[in-house]
């Protein structure tokens, strides 16, 4: 433990950028982008400094403030950086800085340029805050802030119906998972009598907690993580989230939103490990999602949606690693994945800039027109498939080596995913970059400018070297990752097998792309349809969960209308009566007199009748 202001210092620059942009985004104009980028870069500098210190084996603890104190309950707004936090901070800040820089040119001329960078800073701030939080309540606060910021960014093009729908969908689906996390936090607070993260984790793994409770808490936490990370069966929001601007997808898929789920599991690692059932469920869920999403990626015709399914699939690897008991492999893969997936998305953005669409059918032959983008994309794709010496190879091998511990089924699914990953990336690459241009736009495609290529190149360098992060030569980064747990032992056979599977997959993907002579039988067509419909998961939800929710919503609206009607009805009746009465007092003297006469006649009649 070491007292330090660094944990707050990491949060300060994005927060400052956010406040500045929120207040002055209009007069700042194009400067807004540079301010956002400066905020993220400064955060990266502080994160690196913190990581350097933390690699020495100390935990940086910032002075905390009591946010709330009621009876025995104390909620501390504190911040701390240990090895896990240090790794995560560096990844988040680095990807965020590259994405900010990239966006300066990419979003140029957009009507809401300043707002975009404001949201982006908020997104980064929320994720950094979540990482350094020392208290579950504060953690949850930032967790929801991440969700809110991603909602804003996915639906950034508010003019488009699809973007608005995707934003709502992302928010609602992840909310289902959030409910699990909230329940888990409540349960932990009940059991441990504290909201402090370190204390609750110590309680859960000490054996003082009943086994059943720990299992339930672990499963609830898994639900929360699955929602945020888009794991089956809550994966449906992630492909739709592609409606956001492409740099947002890069940030969301690499470092901020979806990584939060994997980070939660890594943080709550003691709970996952305390219960064998939770560990096994996590491993199987992760392995299944990895294979499932990779299968869905095969049928997609949209470049970004293929990458989205690939994210779901790779996050499955991280879940598999945590479930198999290796936090080291999970965080290593999270790091390398962040770099190569951000690179892939930024390259996809460059293609979108040049061609004006994400549709693979409208591309082709881009390698000749945009050689630099093609090269960088290939670098990311090969890292994703897992070829040495790129980053993805080492981390994926670590995951698979860890999966050996989890048993045959998860390992088999994981290895199968390697092949499928190679197939869909091969198909994607051939469709986009090889062959003849299929549209005029693809024929006219041009390489983007330096401010767009620069961040891509920077990420490319990281993709090249990040694989060595665990090697002893890497020093601090190796020490940091080693502090998370022992590196699983991988046999030489596993590495060779994945490389061979990768090559075979790429070749198969190429055949798929250039139209393999596959007879279009009814079964094949049906399979293709099922793939393109995402195995009907969305349709199934629409028929059941969504329909039921809409039904309940209608009832609630009807009841609300009734209750409301009683109030507004009473008010309207009084108002109506008042309006009528006002007519009588319109200042018409003759009408007053007529009324007076009428009353007089009535009095006279009454008097006449009674007098008799």
């Amino acid at each position: 433990m070491q007292e330090s202001w660094l944990p707050w210092a990491v949060l300060a620059p994005p927060f400052g950028a956010f406040v500045l942009l929120a207040a002055f985004r209009r007069p700042l104009g194009r400067l807004a982008g540079w301010i956002g980028a400066a905020g993220a870069t400064l955060a990266l500098v502080f994160a690196l400094q913190a990581a350097w210190t933390a690699s020495g084996g100390v935990t940086l603890s910032a002075p905390s403030v009591a946010l709330l104190s009621a009876g025995d309950v104390r909620i501390e707004l504190g911040a701390a950086i240990g090895p896990l936090q240090a790794v995560m901070l560096v990844v988040v800040a680095a990807v965020s800085a590259f994405v900010h820089l990239y966006s300066i040119d990419y979003m140029a001329g957009h009507r809401r340029y300043g707002t975009y960078f404001q949201h982006l800073s908020l997104f980064t701030l929320a994720m950094l805050g979540l990482v350094v939080a020392t208290n579950w309540v504060v953690f949850y606060l930032f967790w929801e802030l991440v969700g809110a910021a991603s909602y804003l960014l996915i639906g950034f093009d508010v003019e488009r119906e699809a973007a608005r729908r995707a934003a709502v969908k992302a928010f609602v689906v992840t909310r289902i998972g959030d409910l699990g996390l909230l329940a888990a936090i409540w349960g932990m607070a009940q059991g441990a009598g504290s909201f402090d993260i370190a204390e609750t984790l110590a309680w859960a793994s000490s054996g003082a907690a009943p086994a059943g409770t720990v299992t339930a808490l672990g499963l609830l936490m898994l639900l929360g993580a699955a929602g945020k990370s888009g794991q089956f069966p809550l994966h449906v929001w992630l492909p739709d989230a592609m409606e956001g601007p492409t740099p947002v997808s890069a940030l969301l898929h690499a470092a901020t939103m979806v990584a939060a789920g994997a980070y939660l599991l890594a943080l709550a690692f003691p709970i996952v490990q305390a219960s064998p059932e939770v560990a096994r469920t996590t491993a199987v869920l992760g392995a299944f999602t990895a294979l499932f999403a990779a299968t869905l990626a095969l049928g997609e015709e949209d470049l970004k949606r293929v990458l989205a399914y690939s994210t779901v699939s790779q996050l499955g690897y991280m879940f598999l690693a945590v479930g198999a008991g290796s936090r080291f492999a999970a965080m290593f893969h999270l790091t390398t994945h962040a770099f190569f997936k951000a690179l892939l998305f930024l390259a996809a953005g460059a293609i979108y800039h040049a061609v004006g669409t994400n549709d693979l059918a409208a591309m082709g032959g881009l390698a000749r027109r945009m050689p630099k983008t093609a090269g960088l994309f290939a670098l990311g794709a090969l890292a994703l498939v897992g070829f040495p010496p790129l980053a993805g190879f080492f981390s994926k091998e670590a995951v698979l080596a860890a999966a050996q511990e989890a048993g045959g089924v998860p390992l088999g699914l994981g290895v199968g995913t390697v092949f499928l990953t190679a197939v869909y990336m091969g198909r994607l690459y051939v469709l986009a970059f090889f062959g003849e241009p299929r549209t005029e736009a693809a024929r006219e495609a041009r390489e983007p400018g330096g401010l767009i290529l620069g961040p891509m190149a920077g990420l490319g360098v990281l993709v090249l070297v990040a694989g060595a992060a665990t090697a002893p030569v890497a020093g601090p980064s190796a020490r940091l990752l080693a502090a998370l747990g022992p590196a699983p032992e991988a046999g030489a056979g596993l590495g060779a097998a994945t490389v061979l599977l990768g090559i075979a997959g790429l070749l198969a993907g190429r055949r798929l792309a250039i139209g393999a002579r596959c007879p279009m039988t009814a079964a094949v067509r049906k399979a293709e349809q099922a793939l393109q419909a995402g195995f009907y998961v969305d349709a199934c939800y629409r028929r059941t969960v969504v329909a039921a929710s809409v039904f309940v919503g209608r009832i609630v609206v009807a009841v609300d209308a009734l209750v409301d009607g009683l109030f507004t009805g009473t008010a309207a009746a009084v108002a109506g009566a008042g309006r009528r009465l006002r007519e009588a007092e319109a200042g018409q003297v003759q009408r007053y007199n007529a009324v007076a006469l009428l009353v007089l006649v009535i009095i006279a009649l009454v008097a006449a009748i009674r007098g008799r």
Binding site: G587, Q590, N593, L597
Partner: protein
């Protein structure tokens, strides 16, 4: 000096009053309304004259008992009172006309239904 004459005079008074009431309530022009109000006042005056003229000596009211005044004395008093009515009516018309003119300055319309308090 018959009861028939009294009834005729009272009917005429009632007719005059009804005419005035109708005019006061239904006429739009402020001056006509004023005229109608005068009609009602005069109808009242006519009733006073008629009733005092035909009040027999020793007349009794069911509740009040014997009336202190009757005969020529009563008739003279009724007619004198009605003369005062006419003087009051003249003063009233003068004030009424002044009010109408003042109202017309505020709101240039002769019609009472447009002189409401709205706006």
């Amino acid at each position: 000096m018959t009861d028939g004459m009294l009834v005729g005079l009272l009917l005429f008074g009632a007719l005059l009053f009804a005419l005035g009431l109708y005019g006061a309530l239904a006429q739009r022009n402020a001056v006509r309304v004023l005229l109608a109000v005068e009609l009602m006042l005069l109808a009242g005056g006519l009733n006073v004259v008629a009733l005092t003229r035909f009040l027999p000596a020793g007349a009794e009211n069911r509740r009040l008992g014997p009336l202190p005044l009757a005969g020529d004395y009563a008739a003279a008093l009724g007619q004198t009172t009605t003369l005062f009515f006419l003087a009051v009516a003249a003063a009233e018309v003068a004030i009424g006309l002044a009010a109408v003119i003042a109202a017309y300055r505020l709101r240039p319309t002769p019609n009472v239904d447009e002189m409401d308090e709205r706006e």
